[in-house]
């Protein structure tokens, strides 16, 4: 009756066991480390640190539930939860991928008019020790400024994050069809639009 496979990594198992009454979404996201199960996604870390320390930033950080939005051309964005399991804070200073000739790390902040706007973050994403940075539609994200090829649902895209200690972390995430996340980026021109609100009305032309 039960022929269920038992190729379970410990981290994945922690995901499947979290169906408890007290589960909260945040806890789920945090617990679901490496839970890109089912898609053959691989996660690898490259130690770029020169000091031989056992805990370079690239080794301390892992992504959970990562994905990138499908798009025909132009812009897109990547999301997921970056968890720093190390003992010191880390800072993501840049990201690269073959899918886009240019990437930026974006944050969402409130402008003087009280509107939420997005802009390139200065100094990169800081992930405190033991904390998780959520990259999500309407919030922080990795912006793909100029796609080299269409991103089609179900494809997988590799990214490399570089940290302030020059270590790197590589991960692969699937492409998902998603109507929101129409993050636009209008350089220095102060007419940015944020995220998912009102995206359907006018956001399609420049859909990220």
């Amino acid at each position: 009756m039960n022929n269920q496979l038992t190729i379970r990594q410990s981290k994945t198992q922690s995901k499947t066991m979290t169906a408890s009454t007290s589960t909260r979404l945040g806890a789920l996201l945090a617990a679901a480390a490496l839970a890109l199960a089912g898609c053959g996604t691989t996660v690898g870390a490259t130690d770029g640190g020169a000091d031989g320390s056992a805990s370079s930033a690239g080794q301390s950080v892992a992504i959970a539930d990562g994905w990138v939005k499908a798009a025909g051309s132009g812009m897109s964005a990547a999301f997921g939860g970056l968890t720093n399991s190390g003992s010191g804070d880390v800072t993501v200073v840049s990201a690269t991928t073959e899918a886009s000739s240019m990437l930026e790390l974006h944050e969402t902040v409130e402008n003087e008019a009280g509107e939420m706007i997005m802009r390139e973050i200065e100094g990169g994403f800081v992930i405190p020790a033991g904390d998780t940075l959520s990259l999500e539609p309407g919030g922080n994200h990795i912006m793909l400024m100029d796609l080299t090829d269409p991103l089609e649902a179900g494809e997988e895209v590799a990214f490399t994050l570089t940290f302030s200690d020059e270590s790197t972390y590589e991960f692969t995430v699937p492409v998902k069809d998603y109507s929101g996340a129409n993050e636009n980026y209008v350089g220095g021109d102060p007419e940015p639009e944020m995220g998912d609100a009102d995206a359907g009305a006018d956001g399609t032309g420049t859909e990220g």
């Binding site: 269920q4 499947t16 169906a19 408890s20 009454t21 979404l25 199960a37 089912g38 898609c39 649902a153």
Partner: protein, 417 residues
Amino acid sequence: MPAPGTGAGSGRGGMTGSTRRQFLLGGAVAGVGAATAIGADHALNTTPSTEEASVPLNGQETVPFHGTHQAGIDTDAQAHGLFVALDLLDTTDRDDLARMMRILTDDAARLTQGSPALADSEPELALSPARLTVTFGFGPRFVARAQGEAPGWLKALPSFTVDRLLPEFSDGDVLLQIAADDPLTVAHAARMLLKDARSFASVRWSQQGFRRAHGSVRPGTTMRNLFGQVDGTSNPAPGTADFDQVVWNGEGWLAGGTSAVVRRIGMDLDKWDRLDRGGREQAVGRFLSNGAPLTGTNEFDEPDFEATTPIGFPVIPEFSHVRRARSENPAERIFRRGYNYDDRPAGGAVSRSGLIFVSFQADVARQFVPVQTRLDQLDLLNEWTVPIGSAVFVIPPGCSEDGFVGDTLLTGKQAPQ
């Protein structure tokens, strides 16, 4: 079955729930005396302890997703079932199919375990899986696009004289069977899956069905249809060799899979109303009270087709449904897992209801078609029923955690053992 009470204090809702449920079920079977004892057990254990502080929520119960077979077939049928057929876009090729099934598999794997799908825009709706299962099926065109070898039976059924089929309830390239004990869970899962399928396919038809709500009747109780009949008594029991033989196919990329026949059967309740109880029972060959054959007293008694009335006619008429559905050939059996539907009445009628007939069998041509052919030729129940939709799908095997549903067809991967 684990020893009663071992789930106490384990802190995981799903397992605590099943263990406790089985204990309660056992108690119910034992009767009044047992109920008293359960009360005693409860009294003994609630006074001093902090255990079992909360009632387990059935919303937290999960059905494993990965495995040799897809879930949702030998799973005790959930209260709510949604059947959606998709048409592949003309541009969707073999590589696209693999991408689509990767994505849909990942969605299903997460949602069935109570986790939001990736890019789930309503993640809170995923947190009560309520035994959600998602079962995928492929129509003839899917297998053709996948350049796979299609089983000979993967095609529209032969046309039966009773059929009045409507295209809006027939055929399709992909089947999604989405079932759970919570309708909101079903709706969310369906939406998530359809959002992720839209780059590859469009919705062809959708049929929503229901059974008794969770907790209304004992788990495993044979369903009743809207005629009031006990429907599905002769099913093989999941977990038995009999079931395995009836349901699972062992051939090639399909090993561990099966087939699904989904037929929408309109039931004329207004006409049925004009028939009294005795007539209804003769039409089926079973008592309405408990589903026992007219020659027996209990639901699972074997019908005695030889028994005659005092003036010599069969007690179970030769034109009754149970007689006609029964084959002398033991190979001609199927596993039914249908759902009721109850549409908005139209045209002055007070009901537009019926059955989403769903059967699983290893081989449609060998098992289903002979049965339906007999029913087409003679079945008194045909007086009140009319098939208005029909579709056949191959149900691929389940997948492992590093695979996806359909990978044995789309990548040549070995089926999980």
